[in-house]
């Protein structure tokens, strides 16, 4: 297990370096966009003198590197800074939205991951049967449609026609846990439909790949039932690639759902990031960017660690 521990330490170190590099890229990216916060907020109502006063108040008149290092210095002290647009602490803006984003992502994952794996196993079990083709076609269709289209179809069916679920998921503090769950059924279902295909196809492919191995043949020759062969022998050995795809999809559920947020009016991080970029509110963009990057790095690391643990050969390298 020492090798796993060493790997984790090394990867966390690399992760921090990556985050640092990402913060520079984000900063330069926003700087490269035309205009700044003062111009974007005042828009058509800008006067040269009000823009200048606005810049001075927010210290936007300082050179970029000074602003970056002052931000970095505050970050080292654990201070994410304040939104330039409305002066609120970034922690207050990001904190509850991140919780919302995680709430939706986890809810979708709790449905999507087991369903995908189960479907993948069944598809491998009855490979090339009508059932296999049917779920392949169904899942590949849902992933091929743009998310908003899937969302609108679900709203039209389940919200407008049948009136079972609400069409907007604007959860707030006044709601109980179950009310929140009820409110997010449709976005959760949309995300599930969008991510199931990847994981299901990967599970199926990995299992089928393993099925060609000699030890599977051995197991069959021993007379073990086909289901048992697939679940106990093939699937456990196919875990490594499956875990990697799951990690990628989980990351997507956290960072890639801004369209679903907009369609369902869900207050998550995505909309905050889009608004902040369009208004050039750099401290908020940085915070969102770092969170998204950290989620990616964290999930990738977890996937690698789990792959090692699930694979005896990697667990005990010779």
């Amino acid at each position: 297990m020492d090798s796993v521990f060493g790997l984790v330490v090394k990867r966390i170190g690399m992760g921090i370096l990556t985050l640092f590099a990402i913060s520079i890229i984000f900063f330069m990216g926003v700087e490269a966009l035309p205009g700044d916060l003062a111009e974007e907020i005042l828009g058509q109502n800008a006067l040269p003198e009000t823009v200048a006063a606005f810049r001075k108040e927010l210290k936007l008149d300082l050179p970029p590197h000074e602003r970056y290092f002052s931000w970095l210095g505050d970050l080292m002290k654990g201070d994410l800074g304040k939104s330039l647009a409305n002066g609120r602490p970034v922690v207050d803006l990001v904190g509850w939205r991140f919780a919302n984003t995680m709430f939706l992502a986890i809810s979708a994952a709790v449905i999507a991951v087991p369903v995908a794996i189960l479907l993948g196993i069944i598809a491998a079990l009855y490979r090339n049967s009508l059932f296999d083709r049917a779920i392949s076609i169904a899942t590949l269709s849902t992933i091929s449609f743009p998310e908003f289209f899937v969302a609108y179809i679900l709203i039209a069916l389940l919200s407008v026609q049948l009136i079972i679920f609400p069409s907007i998921s604007n959860i707030n503090d006044q709601m109980s846990f179950w009310q929140k769950i009820y409110a997010i059924v449709l976005p959760c279902l949309t995300l599930t439909l969008v991510v199931v295909a990847h994981m299901m196809r990967q599970t199926r492919a990995a299992i089928i790949n393993i099925l060609a191995s000699p030890f599977i043949e051995m197991a069959r020759l021993k007379g073990i039932h086909r289901t048992r062969v697939i679940v106990m022998h093939a699937f456990l050995n196919a875990l490594s690639p499956v875990i990697n795809v799951i990690a990628l999809n989980l990351a997507y559920l956290v960072v890639g759902v801004v369209i679903v947020e907009v369609v369902f009016v869900y207050p998550g991080l995505g909309q905050l990031m889009v608004d902040s970029v369009s208004k050039r509110d750099i401290p908020v963009v940085q915070a969102c960017g770092l969170i998204f990057a950290a989620v990616y790095i964290g999930l990738n690391l977890t996937a690698d660690v789990l792959s090692i643990i699930s694979n005896p050969r990697l667990r005990n390298p010779r």
Binding site: E40, I41, A46, T50, S167, I168, N170, L272, K279, V284
Partner: protein, 529 residues
């Protein structure tokens, strides 16, 4: 008789009041034709009832919104601002300035010194009593070197603000301004407690009909009725929930399924379907909002009025209204004064699409071979690029070449508008002729986006501004509209209607065209029937 049917419908749907209905039908001379049952059954709805939670789904909200009155940039914070705060002056649905926190006002005969008497005993939500000090603080917030206020440009005429006792505020202006009270009715100029700064703005302490309970920019605001509200017959709901719903389909579905009671910006492509929806009312109100296409007159060939005239004549306004606005608008007449404005020049001839005449003027200018670059992005207004392409086709019939240059939405107002020689633009309009002309057409105005300079026009503007006699003002403003129509560098192709939808459980008085959402005052003026 079709007119009467239309009025009947407007009345039964509550779009006009009983009094309006009777006056307008009487004006037609058809009062006898109206069923008496109609008047008795809906009269009840005209008495406001208290209670309920009013949920608004609104566009434009952004997570960067602020409650600082200096930077109220979206529909959402403008609406919330008027839930919780008041101005000195309110602008009513007939574009009159009526008393709000000021109970009366008076000016010197030259309209240079204005004295506002404040209402007594009005408390802010935090219990502090409102005095002249708060008013002066709130106006000064938009003035001075450190101001980042979007309202700064039209407060420039204020030379000094003084208090006379606790309940009188005196404004000294650099020049006479008969419409000064209207300026104080602008949404930025709400009154806040003296000394408010930084994050305190976000608490939204005001004197308004609702008290802000929670406010999350770009997401939601929640406010409760102010039990202590001083204004009579206003603010009828128990609670107001304002939701930022950027996506039009999401707003429509939310209204259809009863999750919200009100939405702005109905999708014009599907409005006919929405009108058929049970339980939903659609309103289309003409206001002061209009599209403009300004040319920079310091650049060739736009300095030649023949070119300007040719381009104005090469626009088919009827077609633009029909295709871009689906009929929800009115053709413009190349000046920014709307039919709802007081001194709108009704008799001024409507400019028509005339390719022959356009060609004639363009030939006179010797510019038939010139290619005119028209800069467009949907940041100017939704559909601006399509409108530009449509104009290009219309101009082709006059032998005029327009090249549509697609610009990025990002930074449109800072990099394209007022920078490129000819571009698409949008104005929300102003409640008075003076404000509109001063802000975008007078010489030296910071947003005079054409750099137009017409001596006669500028002279008339200053004399009309100080003129207190209505008939004389009318004459002056009519002449100015004519000058603007024939000489200015702006094409005003159309005035768009504000098309909004609401639950039929709601009732209201006449709807204002001053701003969207009933002059942004739905929470104060509407109620559940």
């Amino acid at each position: 008789m079709s007119k009467i049917k239309e009025l009947e419908q407007l009345f039964t749907k509550g779009k006009i009041t009983r009094r309006d209905f009777i006056t307008r039908v009487s004006a037609l001379g058809f009062m006898a034709a109206v069923s008496p049952a109609l008047l008795s059954s809906t009269a009840k709805a005209a008495t406001p009832k208290k209670g309920g939670r009013f949920i608004i789904g609104i566009t434009g909200g952004s997570t960067t919104d602020s409650m600082d009155p200096a930077t109220l940039t979206s529909n959402m914070n403008q609406n919330v601002n008027w839930q919780i705060r008041n101005n000195l002056v309110e602008i009513d649905h007939n574009f009159n300035a009526i008393p709000e926190l000021a109970e009366s006002w008076d000016s010197t005969p030259d309209a240079k010194v204005w004295t506002f008497k404040l209402r007594k005993g009005i408390e802010f939500h935090n219990g502090k009593t409102m005095t002249a000090e708060d008013v002066i603080f709130s106006i000064n917030h938009h003035l001075g070197e450190k101001s980042k206020s979007a309202a700064k440009a039209y407060l420039k005429s204020i030379k000094a603000i003084k208090a006379d006792g606790k309940h009188e505020v005196i404004f000294e202006l650099s020049g006479g301004s008969a419409d000064f009270p209207f300026i104080l009715g602008d949404y930025h100029l709400t009154i806040c407690p003296a000394g408010t700064e930084g994050l305190e703005w976000e608490k939204g302490i005001g004197t308004g009909g609702y008290i802000l309970e929670s406010w999350e920019p770009g997401v939601r605001s929640f406010s409760k009725r102010n039990p202590n509200y001083w204004k009579e017959g206003r603010a009828h709901f128990d609670e107001i929930e304002t939701l930022s719903i950027v996506d039009t389909n999401a707003r429509t579905n939310a209204l259809k399924t009863g999750r919200i009671n009100y939405m702005d910006r109905v999708e014009l492509k599907t409005v006919h379907l929405m009108k058929r929806m049970p339980g939903v009312n659609v309103s289309a109100i003409t206001g002061t909002a209009h599209y403009t296409i300004p040319m920079r007159l310091d650049q060739k060939p736009y300095n030649d009025n023949n070119v300007r005239m040719a381009l104005k004549l090469a626009v088919n306004r009827e077609q633009l209204v029909k295709q871009m606005l689906r009929g929800y608008g009115e053709p413009g007449n190349d000046h920014p004064i709307a039919p709802v404005n007081k001194y709108y020049a009704k008799d001024l001839e409507q400019r028509k699409y005339d390719p022959e005449k356009a060609k004639f003027y363009m030939k006179k200018a010797g510019m038939l071979d010139h290619t005119f670059n028209l800069h467009a992005a949907d940041a100017a207004f939704a559909g601006a690029v399509d409108a530009a392409v449509l104009m290009k086709e219309q101009a082709k019939k006059a032998g005029i070449n327009i090249n549509v240059v697609r610009e990025p939405d990002d930074g449109y107002w800072s990099n394209v508008w007022m920078k490129k020689e000819w571009c698409m633009c949008y104005w929300g309009g102003r409640p008075t002729e003076d404000m509109m002309f001063s802000v975008a057409y007078s010489d030296g105005a910071p947003w005079n986006d054409t750099l137009w300079k017409n001596d006669r026009f500028n002279k008339l503007l200053i004399s009309a501004r100080a003129e207190l006699d209505k008939d004389k003002r009318r004459k002056l403003y009519w002449e100015m509209q004519e000058i603007c129509r024939n000489d200015s560098g702006t094409i005003v192709p159309m005035f768009n209607q504000m098309v909004e939808a609401s639950s039929d459980k709601l009732a209201h008085g006449p709807i204002s065209g001053h701003m969207a959402l009933d002059g942004m005052r739905t929470p104060e003026r509407w109620w559940f029937a």
